[in-house]
């Protein structure tokens, strides 16, 4: 090592400024990809929503007309507000996955023989594709042979055509979506329960806390990180619901199970479609709804960062 001593004089500009340049070199490829495929397209969609465009010819600037069409439903009757309402139903009912997941996690948080396998098998629904989940539940609801009607038949009820009924269809699809989502929340809580401080539980027991009181006052506060993540992924999952609707009903019957995500796709890329600007306007509305939650998540993360 003869160069070590006289290295300082030979240091190139790059070597001297290494610590300032290095982060940008490490960031460059990832940032470039992310900019091109995610960040810039968001702005492009905003811009596109002010145009009328069929995806091939020239785009015509129409100002806010796409949004007016949405607001007054001049183009598609009974589409936008039904989608919006269904989005809201999804958002609220999907949150049931959190208590349901907690319930199953509490049920499985034991150390009996074979429990590890049970936990894995309960997690199963999350790992399989929503396309398959959709198919499975379509059969479950099938009016001629579905298990649901077989069960209802036992109690002298039915038959019920869940996916063919405008009033039931959205709830039917949400139940299908809750199945994997509950599994996800369950695994979050199982990991969380593992980390609960045993001393605090003992202290609680000495104070005479048990059952629900113990859960509420001692366990849940310690599960807060798990609850936060469960909340984030469930909200995002609810607003992203597309696969199940596309597989199970294609938005039907008569558009009654559409959500914004599906409606946008239908407008822009299906046989009804190629109204790109109009679709972009729908996407912008969905994005703005999501943005409220994204801002909240980032705010929480920011406080966490400051806390460190």
């Amino acid at each position: 090592m003869t160069t070590a001593a006289d290295a300082p004089e030979q240091e190139s500009w790059f070597q001297r400024n290494q610590q300032r340049i290095a982060p940008w070199l490490f960031l460059a490829p990832g940032l470039l990809f992310f900019m091109v495929y995610v960040i810039i397209p968001v702005f492009q969609s905003f811009n596109l929503s002010l145009y009328e465009w069929d995806g091939l010819g020239a785009a015509e600037y129409v100002g806010m007309r796409n949004y007016e069409d949405l607001y007054w439903e001049w183009v598609d009757r009974d589409a936008f507000y039904i989608s919006l309402k269904n989005n809201l139903i999804w958002l609220i009912l999907y949150l049931l996955a959190i208590p349901a997941g907690l319930f199953i996690a509490l049920f499985l948080n034991q150390t009996v023989w074979g429990i590890r396998l049970y936990k894995s098998l309960f997690f199963f629904p999350f790992v399989i594709s929503q396309v398959v989940v959709g198919l499975v539940f379509t059969w479950f609801y099938d009016p001629t042979f579905g298990l649901l009607n077989e069960l209802l038949g036992l109690f002298g009820m039915g038959p019920l055509n869940v996916l063919g009924d405008e009033r039931l269809v959205t709830y039917g699809i949400i139940v299908a979506g809750l199945w994997p989502q509950t599994a996800y929340c369950m695994i979050l809580y199982l990991t969380g329960l593992n980390a609960v401080d045993p001393e605090q539980i003992e202290a609680g027991r000495l104070d005479g806390a048990k059952g629900l009181r113990m859960l509420w006052h001692i366990i849940l506060p310690q599960l807060r990180p798990a609850t936060f993540i469960a909340f984030v992924v469930t909200i995002i999952g609810a607003l992203r619901s597309f696969d199940l609707i596309s597989i199970m009903t294609q938005g039907g019957p008569f558009g009654s199970s559409r959500v914004l995500a599906y409606y946008m796709f239908e407008v822009a890329l299906s046989e009804y479609g190629f109204r790109m600007g109009y679709g972009a306007a729908i996407a912008v509305v969905l994005f703005l709804i999501m943005l409220c939650f994204i801002a909240y998540f980032l705010w929480s993360m920011y406080r966490e960062e400051r806390g460190h």
Binding site: Q19, R20, P23, F26, P29, G30, L31, F33, F34, V36, Y37, V38, I39, P41, V42, Q44, G55, F107, Q110, V112, Y118, F122, F123, F124, P125, V127, I128, S129, Q130, V131, V132, F145, L147, E150, W179, I187, L188, T191, L193, A195, V196, I219, I229, R240, F242, D243, S246, I247, L260, A261, M264, F265, G279, A283, F287, M290, F297, L298, Y302, E305
Partner: protein
């Protein structure tokens, strides 16, 4: 431990619990078991309305044989692997670097760039749909696996960066400082010091991204069409259209399509769960 360990409960409670476990599991997985049952039935059972009874004969080999040798399914599966594996490699590679940059260096815009990755990861797909489709068309990559892979890598980089950065933050910073004192270049610190320590994070992300991408349906529909490039999630809808009302084949096809991520999960369970909790719940 909460709830109270069952071993400390009366004998009756223990037996009830042990009995309830398999029942609960059967109910929970009921819909899947039904598909598994369908997939080994002969076609005749469905025409005779024997939907939920035992198979009149065991036709598993016939049904799965047809899926594997007489349909486009192997093609779709291969496509799925050819889309998923490069995406995993690409996203992990890019995000180990971005995660390293954001986790180790202090510079002004650090937190903003980090938040941009996080926020981008949460946007609805629809707002990206038209521009990304156009970009892919312009690049001449529409209806190719490459087009899909490039987008997936870019989008997954957001989530992966979140994960990697938080993981690197938790590493002992003294290691890096010590290396700097030794005069080791930043690239070598990344490669020889940090990367070996990131193995658990890389494993966790790999299994997770594998599952996400394998199960992606939306982008497969938006960016591809036809058997030459479609992954299995999109392919199965054409498969099902082809074998409409052949429930035994649709079931067998679905099970085949669902199997790889399931296998991945069982093989790498520990890493998978570490990834799902975003590293935030230990």
């Amino acid at each position: 431990m909460f709830p109270k360990p069952i071993e400390k409960q009366p004998r009756a409670a223990q037996i009830t619990y042990q009995a309830m476990l398999p029942i609960a599991l059967l109910l929970w997985l009921g819909p899947l078991l039904a598909v598994a049952l369908f997939s080994v039935k002969p076609a005749a059972d469905f025409t005779n309305a024997n939907y939920w009874g035992l198979p009149s004969s065991f036709e598993g080999a016939v049904n799965y044989g047809l899926v594997f040798f007489n349909s486009d399914m192997p093609r779709y599966l291969l496509n799925s692997f050819m889309i998923t594996i490069p995406t995993v490699i690409g996203a992990v590679a890019l995000s180990s670097m971005t995660g390293f940059a954001l986790g180790i260096y202090k510079f002004k815009s650090n937190l903003w760039i980090f938040f941009m990755f996080v926020a981008g990861n949460f946007v609805p797909f629809q707002i990206l749909m038209v521009p990304v489709r156009d970009l892919t068309l312009d690049l001449g990559l529409y209806n190719t696996k490459t087009g899909l892979v490039l987008f997936h890598i870019a989008f997954q980089t957001g989530f992966c960066t979140l994960f990697m950065r938080n993981f690197i933050r938790a590493l002992p910073f003294e290691l890096i400082e010590a290396a700097r004192v030794e005069g080791i270049s930043e690239w070598r610190i990344f490669w020889y010091v940090v990367l070996p320590l990131m193995k658990p994070a890389i494993a966790a992300l790999s299994v997770l991204i594998f599952t996400f991408i394998w199960n992606d349906y939306f982008w497969a529909v938006v960016l591809t069409q036809g058997a030459e490039s479609q992954p299995v999630t999109a392919g199965i809808t054409s498969f099902n259209a082809q074998f409409r009302a052949a429930y035994q084949l649709m079931s067998a096809g679905s099970i085949v399509a669902a199997l790889p991520p399931v296998a991945m999960f069982f093989l790498m369970q520990k890493h998978f769960i570490a990834g799902l909790t975003l590293g935030a719940v230990k």
